[in-house]
């Protein structure tokens, strides 16, 4: 079977993604997705695991310094065999580096020194050089950067998250064109599934917070009744 048709059965067995921000839930559960991904070749499965290790937020360590985090990400990415997957992991970490730089500068931190690694990818020295520029002279590379800065300055984290998720979604759409039934298409599908899962979970969190507030109000009444 040709490489471009390697995962025909797997990909046609996966339900299609709708638009990211219209989704109420993921098109299939995490358990079912994991079962389907068991059809991957061992090497591809390892690549997918390494991509997740490099990019999943819940797998990141926050008890170590920036240099250790960057080193860990570089090691995970270097072990990925598939070039498409490696590029995607690198692109996502570069995006996070740019957003982290915006946050650090907003917090009043000075330009990072060149001695210590504080971010990932090709833009690290460029950002340090253009620390005082509003968008680090990267607005041509990342057209969403001015809008991200505005949302950050306005204190709108949900709007910022929506913008960043949308930027990743659009990037996946662009790089996924021409990949229909190959491993690259699987990578695009799984990454999109993660984005949908994250977005819909945010909604669930909001619902949970609302539920807690309602519960608290109701219990306050109960306490009063008991006291009476």
């Amino acid at each position: 079977m040709a490489p471009q048709d390697r995962y025909l059965t797997l990909l046609t067995s996966l339900p299609a993604h709708g638009p990211l921000f219209g989704a109420k839930q993921t098109p299939l559960s995490r358990l079912r997705l994991r079962k389907r991904l068991a059809w991957l070749e061992p090497e591809d499965s390892e690549d997918l695991t390494r991509l997740a290790a490099a990019t999943d937020w819940h797998r990141q360590r926050f008890d170590v310094d920036d240099e250790a985090v960057v080193q860990q990400a570089e090691q995970a990415i270097a072990q990925i065999h598939n070039a498409f997957t490696r590029d995607l992991a690198g692109w996502r970490l570069e995006l996070r580096t740019v957003v982290a730089a915006l946050r650090r500068r907003r917090a009043g931190e000075p330009a990072p020194s060149g001695r210590r690694k504080w971010g990932f990818g090709r833009w690290v020295p460029h950002i340090a050089r253009h620390w005082t520029e509003p968008h680090f002279r990267l607005e041509r590379v990342y057209p969403w950067l001015p809008e991200a800065k505005r949302l950050m300055d306005d204190g709108d984290p949900l709007g910022l998250e929506r913008l960043l998720l949308g930027a990743v979604w659009t990037h996946l759409e662009r790089i996924g064109a021409g990949h229909e039934f190959d491993f690259e298409a699987v990578i695009v599908y799984v990454t999109r599934w993660d984005l949908v899962a994250r977005w819909t979970r945010y909604d669930a969190d909001a619902a949970l917070a609302r539920f807690d507030a309602l519960l608290e109000t109701a219990l306050t009444g109960v306490d009063l009744d008991l006291a009476a």
Binding site: M1, L8, T9, T12, S13, L14, E180, F181
Partner: protein
């Protein structure tokens, strides 16, 4: 030299069938895998997926008919014509069937998401089929002009 020419004649005669069969095998396997995947994900309409997945099998039927049309006494005069028509028709049918299989796989994927585009999604595969028919018809026409 004469034996080589005659061997090429036989190669062309059976090549039409063999190459088109290889194409149909690959095309049906590609579309069939897509159909199986779609069946896993859906509760109904599985018959349609299976029906679409056998579309590339027409290539081998054209190959069989071309082979019988080319079937005659293989001589030094007829062998070059049989070789040229049989081999080139076989290669064309092979490619058509493989790519038709890919078109069918895409159609299955599309109709799984939007069942209402069942007919439209098959248009690319049908166009590829049209090119196979061109090869088939003109191979038959030219086979009639092969000298004895």
């Amino acid at each position: 030299m004469n034996e080589l020419v005659i061997a090429l004649g036989w190669t062309g005669m059976f090549g039409a069938l063999a190459l088109s069969a290889i194409g149909s095998i690959m095309g049906c396997a590609i579309a069939g895998q897509a159909a199986i995947g779609a069946m896993v994900d859906t509760e109904s309409g599985q018959g349609r997926y299976l029906g679409v997945s056998v579309m590339p099998s027409t290539g081998v039927i054209y190959g069989i008919v071309i082979m019988f049309t080319l079937q005659r006494e293989v001589t030094a005069g007829s062998a070059p014509g049989i070789f040229g028509i049989g081999l080139l028709a076989g290669i064309a049918l092979l490619y058509a069937s493989v790519l038709q299989g890919r078109a069918c796989a895409s159609a299955i994927q599309a109709m799984k998401v939007k069942p209402e585009i069942f007919g439209l999604s098959l248009a690319p595969a049908a166009i590829v089929e049209g090119f196979s028919v061109f090869v088939f018809v003109f191979a038959l026409v030219l086979a009639g002009n092969i000298p004895a």
